[in-house]
Amino acid sequence: MSGAAVLQLASQIALGLLLVGMLLAVIRLIRGPNLGDRILALDMIGVLAVGFIGGVAVLTGFSLYIDIAIALALVSFLATVALARYLMSRAARRSREAEQ
């Protein structure tokens, strides 16, 4: 098998694995049980999507897609931070409300 063919096959398999991973993460997202778990699941899906983009880049040979992957990593980090912040402020509000 030529290197190119192996690479094709490997990247396709990789895409499949990543998709399965995303499915599992979505299950976690649905099952929760807490908000933190769901945020984690979304973060996980973001990271898997970074991998997926890489996989597509390998599959097609358009290595320029790597920038998309980087950017996604950047913003999905931002999302997780924002969501964590949301959790935090909810905690703060709950304690405030409990005091009252």
């Binding site: 396709q12 895409l15 499949g16 998709l19 995303m22 499915l23 979505v26 997202l29 649905i30 929760g32 908000l35 769901r38 945020i39 699941a41 979304l42 899906i45 973001g46 999507a49 997926f52 983009i53 597509v56 358009f62 320029l64 897609y65 920038d67 998309i68 950017a71 996604l72 913003v75 999905s76 931002l78 999302a79 924002a82 969501l83 912040r85 949301y86 402020s89 909810r90 509000r93 405030r96 409300e97 009252q100």
Partner: protein
């Protein structure tokens, strides 16, 4: 000094409007003398018109046209013939006295507005009778209604005045629309806007429609049954208005219209019989209703109804004699009725009451008024040699020969004239003869400005009676010719034909009138009891309709504008379904559907992920959960873009989708989470149903689109020229910044503007802490959740 026709028309039609605009200024400058000053306007008009009289009585038809809207074939064209000149002279002549009278009548009041309205009305009325262009005719027609609205509502703080004004406006406005429709119909048939060029319209398919529309217009304006009720109510207006608009001029607009249209529409049975039937009915109705009244103005208003009916009846009869009678009667009526109204005003002014049963013996304190009334009542009673007598003779002569309808009409005429005669007697005898009765004000004579009109008009009525041939030559015959569309020579001469049936019918009328006058009180109480027993009137009917419309409007508006956004949206989506699939279905354009499903496994995987994400968004119980699921579908869509060869899209979608989640999270920090979808079950099913249909419908449409051929030439062009000319390898980006850079310029403007808007919103929030209380509106308030305060 003889003015050219153009200058005459300008003086007659235009000058009053200019004067109207200046009237408040004039009043400010000269005070209570304003009436004298502005009366010069109709005087000038009268003189100018008088200069044309010779040419017109020689049979000439003068037309003047100014350019107006050439691109739509419109000219501001006027036509002076016997008919229009007769009306125009009447309007100008009486108008002068009315303005004079008004100045005195409203002494010490803010007259500026009032005189302005009167002048504007005068210009409009002159325009109405002189216009040849159908659009101009309608324009002036409506302007008379508008002026009338303002004048009836002059005493605007009283609801009765407002009601009368609105009633008059709506009834005449309703008829006006019919006139507009008729005018446009005539234009469509004849191809021109000038009525004089319309020719004979009787053969056309639309003839019955035209007759209906024209008569509707005429009947509303001239207060024919069943649209008569507004006219008595219009007596809410100050007396000069009643005298001028609501007896001598504006209400004659309908009569004028019928006369003007007779050459084009008249002669057919449908035209003649309708006019005679409605005219006759109105004549009797008004005359009988007048018997019931004790208020001088009401009494006069009802007799005006009768006279208008009488005129319609005569025009409906349509013979040369009948039309001549109509013209004569029009002149006579204008003179005596305006005079009577003015005297009524003088009495009101001089005694403080208009109730005929409270008045008596005024002949000594108000001698001049008494003299004016004698002349007017005599004309109304139809005594020779006043012009009213000739009118009556003429009409009896016209109808005494002929078929059943004519005889029926004749009977109505005799009865009507007798009733009017009785009232004429009552108007003279009740207030002026007998003993002086106590009145709210010590009776005193009105100033000369108020009495000039009645006296001069009365004298004129007598004078014309003595020179009927002259009147016939100058006005009556030319007017009759214009109405009949064929030249007519006058046959009027001074004298009484004692052998003709007309005279004996006159005698019968007088006898009947005197008899009725003697039993007036009985008749009045009888009629009043009847009216009470019926308990309904056309006037009440107007209220039913008016408030019915208001009520329906309220109900419909509350039904449609309920304020529930979800229902507004629901409707929109239902329409979306209909729009997307309806035409496709009706025109047999439904798609074949997919033939193969050639997706690669990872494409299927992404589709599945997207669907899973979407379903999760929908079913997520907590909102943050839903937001996270939203992120999932967004990522799936972005990845789909990637595998379909759209990396830029994918890039953007990632960023935007995630940033949406970020902003949602930032905002959600401040929102108390609410967990459940609060929809009741039936809503759930309903919404789900329309959602499903919407999805299916748009999918079908999209399928139908992609199953058709596709032209890629735009993209072929972009692909070909991106690198060589635009120096860019990424075609999508080149489209964004070069080929279609303007889209992007708009797009970034949207982004920037969104920034401004959002900041304005957030600043608003900062200003408004603590939470402001919503303005209290009637109706039940939604329950408020107290916990929310802590959040904000």
């Amino acid at each position: 000094m003889e003015a050219t026709p153009a200058i005459a028309i300008a003086l007659v039609v235009l000058l009053p409007f200019v004067a109207a605009a200046l009237a408040p200024l004039v009043h400010r400058l000269v005070g209570d003398l304003a009436g004298w000053v502005v009366a010069l306007v109709p005087v000038a008009g009268f003189i100018a018109l008088w200069g044309l009289l010779g040419r017109v009585s020689d049979g000439e038809i003068i037309t003047i046209a100014w350019p107006w809207a050439p691109s739509w074939g419109l000219e501001l064209s006027f036509l002076v013939d016997g008919l229009s000149l007769t009306f125009a002279l009447t309007i100008a002549g009486i108008g002068a006295f009315i303005l004079l009278y008004s100045g005195a009548y409203l002494k010490g009041h803010k007259q500026g507005r009032f005189l302005g309205f009167l002048l504007a009305f005068m210009g409009a009325m002159q325009g109405l009778v002189l216009a040849d262009n159908l659009v101009a005719l309608y324009l002036f027609w409506e302007l008379t209604s508008v002026a009338s609205f303002l004048l009836i509502g002059f005493d605007h703080t009283r609801q009765a005045a407002r009601r009368a004004a609105i009633q008059a406006l709506l009834v005449t406005g309703f008829g006006g629309l019919a006139l507009l429709a008729a005018g446009v119909t005539i234009y469509t048939i004849s191809g021109g806007w000038d009525l004089s060029a319309a020719g004979d319209l009787k053969g056309h398919l639309a003839y019955p429609l035209l007759v209906g529309l024209v008569l509707l217009a005429a009947f509303t304006k001239s207060a024919q049954l069943p649209f008569h009720f507004w006219l008595p109510n219009a007596m809410e207006a100050p007396t000069p208005v009643s005298a001028y608009l609501h007896s001598a001029t504006m209400v004659q607009g309908g009569v004028y219209l019928v006369a003007r249209m007779t050459p084009h529409l008249g002669g057919e049975a449908i035209w003649n019989l309708t006019l005679m039937a409605f005219g006759g009915a109105t004549l009797l109705w008004g005359a009988i209703a007048a018997l019931r009244q004790t208020d001088l103005k009401q009494l006069l208003a009802q007799t005006t109804l009768a006279s208008l009916g009488l005129l319609m009846l005569l025009l409906g009869a349509g013979t040369e004699l009948a039309v001549t009678a109509a013209v004569l009667y029009f002149i006579a009526h204008a003179l005596y009725k305006a005079g009577l109204f003015l005297v009524a005003g003088a009495i009101d002014h001089g005694t403080g009451t208009r109730d005929i049963t409270m008045l008596g013996g005024l002949r000594d304190p108000m001698t001049l008024s008494f003299i004016g009334t004698i002349m007017a009542s005599a004309a109304m009673f139809g005594l020779p040699p006043l012009i009213g007598f000739f009118a009556k003779e003429e009409m009896y002569a016209a109808l005494a020969i002929g078929q059943f309808e004519s005889l029926l009409a004749l009977a109505a005429l005799v009865l009507g004239n007798a009733l009017l005669g009785a009232i004429g007697l009552a108007l003279l005898i009740k207030p002026f003869m007998g003993q002086l009765l106590p009145t709210p004000i010590e009776p005193h004579e009105a100033p000369v400005a108020m009495l000039a009109g009645p006296l001069v008009m009365g004298v004129l009525g007598i004078f014309l009676g003595f020179v009927p041939t002259l009147a016939g030559q100058l006005a009556v015959a030319p007017a009759t010719s214009a109405i009949l569309g064929v030249p007519v020579e006058t046959h009027l001469k001074f004298g009484v034909d004692l052998l003709g049936p007309a005279f004996w019918l006159s005698v019968a009328t007088w006898v009947l009138a005197i008899g009725l006058f003697l039993r007036l009180d009985l008749a009045r109480s009888l009629l009043r009891r009847t009216a009470t027993a019926i308990g309904w009137s056309f006037d009440i009917g107007f209220d039913w309709v008016y408030f019915g419309i208001v009520r329906v409007a309220g109900a419909v508006t509350r039904l449609l504008h309920h304020g529930r956004l979800e229902l507004y949206l629901f409707l929109v989506f239902v329409l979306l379904v209909v729009a997307a699939i309806g035409p496709l279905w009706l025109l047999d354009g439904l798609p074949r559907g997919p033939q193969t499903l050639d997706l690669r496994f990872y494409e299927w995987g992404l589709v599945g992920l997207a669907v899973l994400g979407v379903v999760t968004v929908v079913y997520a119980r907590s909102r943050l959960f839903a937001i996270l699921a939203l992120g999932v579908q967004g990522l799936a869509v972005a990845l789909l873009y990637l595998v379909f060869g759209a990396p830029d899209l994918s890039f953007t979608q990632f960023m935007v989708e995630i940033l949406s989640v970020v902003i949602l999270a930032l905002v959600m920090i401040r929102l108390d989470l609410d967990t459940a979808d609060r929809r009741p079950l039936e809503d759930w099913a309903r919404d789900g149903g329309v959602a499903l249909l919407g999805g299916v419908a748009v999918t079908m449409l999209l399928w139908a689109v992609i199953e058709g051929p596709f032209d890629l030439r735009l993209s072929t062009f972009f692909n070909a020229h991106s690198v060589p000319i635009a120096h860019g390898h990424n075609v999508v980006n080149v489209i964004l910044v070069d080929f279609r850079g303007l889209d992007t310029l708009g797009e970034i403007s949207v982004v920037m503007t969104a920034g401004i808007a959002i900041l304005a919103l957030i600043r608003g929030a900062r200003r408004q802490k603590p939470v402001e209380v919503a303005p209290v509106e009637p109706g039940p308030q939604p329950k408020r959740r107290a916990a929310r305060k802590a959040v904000a």
